[in-house]
Symmetry: C2
Amino acid sequence: MLSERRLKVLRAIVQDYVGTEEPVGSKALTERHHLGVSPATVRNDMAALEDEGFIAQPHTSAGRIPTDKGYRLFVDKLAGVKPMTAPERRAIQNFLEGAVDLDDVVARTVRLLAQLTRQVAVVQYPSLTRSTVRHVELLSLAPARVMLVLITDTGRVEQRMVDCPAPFGEASLADLRARLNSRVAGRRFADVPGLVEDLPEAFEAEDRGTVSTVLSTLLETLVEENEERLMIGGTANLTRFGHDFPLTIRPVLEALEEQVVLLKLLGEAKDPGVTVRIGHENAHEGLNSTSVVSVGYGSGGEAVAKLGVVGPTRMDYPGTMGAVRAVARYVGQILAES
Amino acid sequence: MLSERRLKVLRAIVQDYVGTEEPVGSKALTERHHLGVSPATVRNDMAALEDEGFIAQPHTSAGRIPTDKGYRLFVDKLAGVKPMTAPERRAIQNFLEGAVDLDDVVARTVRLLAQLTRQVAVVQYPSLTRSTVRHVELLSLAPARVMLVLITDTGRVEQRMVDCPAPFGEASLADLRARLNSRVAGRRFADVPGLVEDLPEAFEAEDRGTVSTVLSTLLETLVEENEERLMIGGTANLTRFGHDFPLTIRPVLEALEEQVVLLKLLGEAKDPGVTVRIGHENAHEGLNSTSVVSVGYGSGGEAVAKLGVVGPTRMDYPGTMGAVRAVARYVGQILAES
DNA sequence: CCCTGGCACTCACCGTGTTCGAGTGCCAGA
DNA sequence: TCTGGCACTCGAACACGGTGAGTGCCAGGG
């Protein structure tokens, strides 16, 4: 196990490197942090830390920089989550409060996160599968064509066209609408399938086909995972990434355009608290030199979606984690109110 | 006026520079294009072109590169629009045909444009103000709370919460819904205000306040310009931009995040055909070294929105213009079908 | 046993100097 | 009006040496 002082040295290295973006040497360390020991001692500690794989030198006779493993230890053991200051909290609240609809909430959240952390922000729309149905609306657009509109408790609206196997009268449609809503309104998505399976039996034979079609479209909409949307922002912050640009930034931009990748990235975080994935811990290759800080948010006690930021492994973890956590909380509040 | 040959020289310079990304000299020109004259002659022509401001040298004793003015002349007089090949057309059609809803159409269009042109693609959602109302739905969520859902002929759905001044019964709501739809369904947004202004008079005094509130919310939704959304993609292509990265790319990324800027950018293109704005012709400062190629698209003969690409001024104009035009056509078809 | 100061070594970085060559402008002649 | 020739310019590429931050190792002291 590493001694107390060595951990201190590691912490100092991480902090300095995050600040200056340059490999940090033994002398500078002893000067900037009052460690109370000489550079030579620190050198020995650094050698030990390097043996353990927590730090590395970009080339011989240069300072050390933290490895992914070093950052991991740092966030796990050496650093807490830096809470937001009171003015920051107020700013967050003010910024989010003006939102008028769900799109706006998400858009504002993205902007806010990007500004606070000065990194790339990713916000997932409240997921369908965990929310509840507020209302289902059916509109007759043509004799054999129905538009299905699903409204969720998070304010999200999904619509689908349904081509019916047979013409469907207004009366039957109204009937179906009423029965459907009385059964599913306020219920959780997961419960809906069981609640509607016997619905076709209540209708005339000629309408049953259509009813089944509508229902299966509804269930499809509920389940459809690939409809999980998300919004990203703050990509301009990528320019603060590093020196060797095209090579570093390109794969990141590419990864950010793949919604699938991002959803998986956010989805992997199972923790109830803030989750941090550092460098190679990210499955996607293009994100090997980035860290992802994510957390779930939701209107009630339960998380309905995730949000987070993507930035260089060399990032201010405590600050970023604090910002992400705070934003998630306030977004949850806003969603609960609306 | 410039002689025939000088125009040829300009064209050759543009083509070479676009291809190689390097200043082009007189010798290389005569070799790669069979101009039939010697380098010295070309040099004289180049000097003349430079005097006129069509080309410039990055530094003395280097080759020439086209100026914005040079590109302008090139697209206006020297180059046509390169039509897509048959396989390309088929690919476009295939790619767009699988779309299931409006979001999907737009998302696919963005991807397609970005891939075809290898640049940043921007697609505006079909604009509300030019489309027609398909249906207005009113849902009672609480005694004094109504959700207004507006469905357009382009498949777009907008929803708004309305807090009523007084409780509003189901019967009145159904009445309002019926009257509203019989008046506005199928009508153009611009006509709606005139069609509904006397509606409150048909209701009991106690409901008039609520009806007015609902109507004004509807009108707000129709007019609301800032709700014009758009989707962008292909930002990874920015990495192919140039050498001096952070400085070039940063303002572009920032501009791309400002929806307002982009909407204005697309909106400026009034031409019925493909519009090209080159370098400093773009109002926004961050886009001074980019060109925007845009065009309107729509389901009928009329354009309901714009789409386009943003790339370096050094781009393949004929090819890009061809791709943009072709994609716009096919998207129009898809919208008309759905 | 751990810390310290000293010392030799390594190597990226920086400024300088030099060469190389693509490209130019100009001019006289066809 | 075009062409070949010629001197000139100036950035890119390379080599070179000095500088300094940083290292590893070692012997001595608390």
